[in-house]
Amino acid sequence: MTSRARTVAAVLAGRGARVVIRALRGGRGGGTAVPGGITNRIAPNLLAEVVNAFPEGVIAVSGSSGKSTTTRMLVALLRAHGLSVFTNDSTANIRQGLTSNLLQEITITGRPRSRIAVLEFDEAHGARLVEHFTPTTVVLTNVMTDQIDRFPDPLGVAHMLATIAQRATERVVLNADDAYVDGIASSLLGVEVTRFGVSDAVLAAQPHGLGYLRTSPSRLDGGTVLQKVSASKATVLHGTTPIEIDLPARGVHYAIDAAAAIAAASVTLGDSFDPALTAQTLSNLVPLFGRGEVVVIGGKKVELVLVQNPASFQLNIDELPGELEQVLVAVGSDVHDPSYLWPVDTAPLRKVVGVTGSLAEAMALQLLYRGVSVGSVEPDLGTALDAFVALPEPSAGVKTIIFSADSMRRTLRHWKLA
């Protein structure tokens, strides 16, 4: 078989598998990795060939947290500036999953339809996958304590991120406030390094810092700096141009993601980067599910807060408005060992009406020792969600659910939102 014929066969086989799987699942199930696996078996080089064929190159985004939001913001900015952009589902960051995603993007002969790709990678998968392609730009967010059983040491995570950054051919965009990420710059040769960060005032206003394992000793001078943030309003100073944004959700971590996206969009777009269009685009984004999104369930407003690791748990608690009357905390099986949640200062929650998820008891124990009053402890998420929504409207604040990723997925299914 010629290489072109092999590519066509691989694409057709993968697409065929996708159609069959979707039919079997009653029209759902675009997210399966099986079609990509089939394609990769027939044409092992297809992934690299396709990813390297985007005319304006590939931007890879990685780090412990903030990568989904940064990716999404960056994609929105590039599209607003008129570029056609391919991006992967955040869960499709291993080889098969990414190939499955690409199958929907490429022509039958394996050519991408979009001008540029923005790909989000988990640190470990990213470090392995970048061997297969050449990103033009790499954007790195931060190093936080995350899944200690997978990433036992931050230096290991920093090495993985450095491996990804070293593959960049043109540009690397780094978080100057994260000492591990910032330190990667010294291992880079022949690429343009751009930095983003926060001002002294923004850092000083955070009671528990920014959540990085190591915060750089000094703040960024120049570059793209988050100058101030108050609830969802943020000002990012880009060079000398202030960009005022009304973020999709409140929180300094979203504002930092916005600074990262602005820095990356600016170096990608060069002279055509438009600050006013950037402010407008970021302000018009709707929140990602679970990132400060408010849904209406059974006629009642419920705010959803995803916590992905102890640092994001802390940042989210610090951002919650005081006097919340109805909070439900859900921690599921994605947290293998709940030990690492213990450093989180949950005391500001003061009271939660319920704790649920497969780790309900362990989470409730943490809350009790932090002095939080705990209502029901119900491991069955569906039962707890129904009881929570059935409570009368709170007299103060909105009903708020704080959940881990696994509990978020189960909540989505329970409410048939996905």
């Binding site: 304590t145 200690i148 059983d149 036992p152 040491d153 931050p154 230096l155 290991g156 394992l213 060992d337 709940p338 030990s339 690492y340 949640l341 213990w342 450093p343 008891e361 362990a362 409730a364 124990l365 943490q366 009790l368 020792y369 932090r370 002095g371 402890v377």
Partner: protein, 244 residues
Amino acid sequence: MTLIILQLLPELLNVNGDAENALVLARRAEWAGLDARIVTETRDRPDLVVIGSGFDSDLPEIAAALHDRAEQVQDAAEHGVPILAIGSGFELLTGSVTLLDGNVIEGLGLLQGETRPAAWVSGEIVIESRYGRLLGYENSNRSYALPEGAEALGTVLYGIGNGPATSKGAQSSEGIVQGSVIGSHIHGPVLANNPSFADALLDIASRGAYSPGDKRILAADELAARVRSNTLKSIAFAEPSAVT
């Protein structure tokens, strides 16, 4: 009386929440009607000392910081102050810690024995100890050779502990108890999940003034019992047959 609980270097030694064992001790003491204060520095001799675990890449820095505090820790140990050291905090109280690359970090030598590289283990651990059955998580890539004649914290029923048993048919050991100093690999809030262990330390530290009857303590212990039974279920733990 006010119990002074010294939490050593929490900014470096709280990776798995092990430094929060100090929080567990303080809360239980308060619930039992005693005053308790968590401090990270004190000129006075503390009533309890908690040392948590840190990242391997920080070990040289942690060791240096611990050596700076060695005198105080030594003094506490000599005066029978309960000292609970977890993970790398425990390892750095031994004679030395050998890293994977062969480098050796000098420990405080407060505990006998040494720590060497071993296969990485990460998972649940269950041991039988003088404080009752203790369970929790271990996450370690080193083993500790318990010296002959030394008393282990417990015998391993599930998991690895100090490392594989050295002689055939023997049970592997976990941790060490040497005077008032206790070293263990059971990371995280071991005292929250194992309230009998917490109460034993509080009893010594308060010279018998602590009594765990308050309803808040009972509520926490009821939750801990559920956590424990969930953990045992998740690993399909089988009771060991009676030893003859």
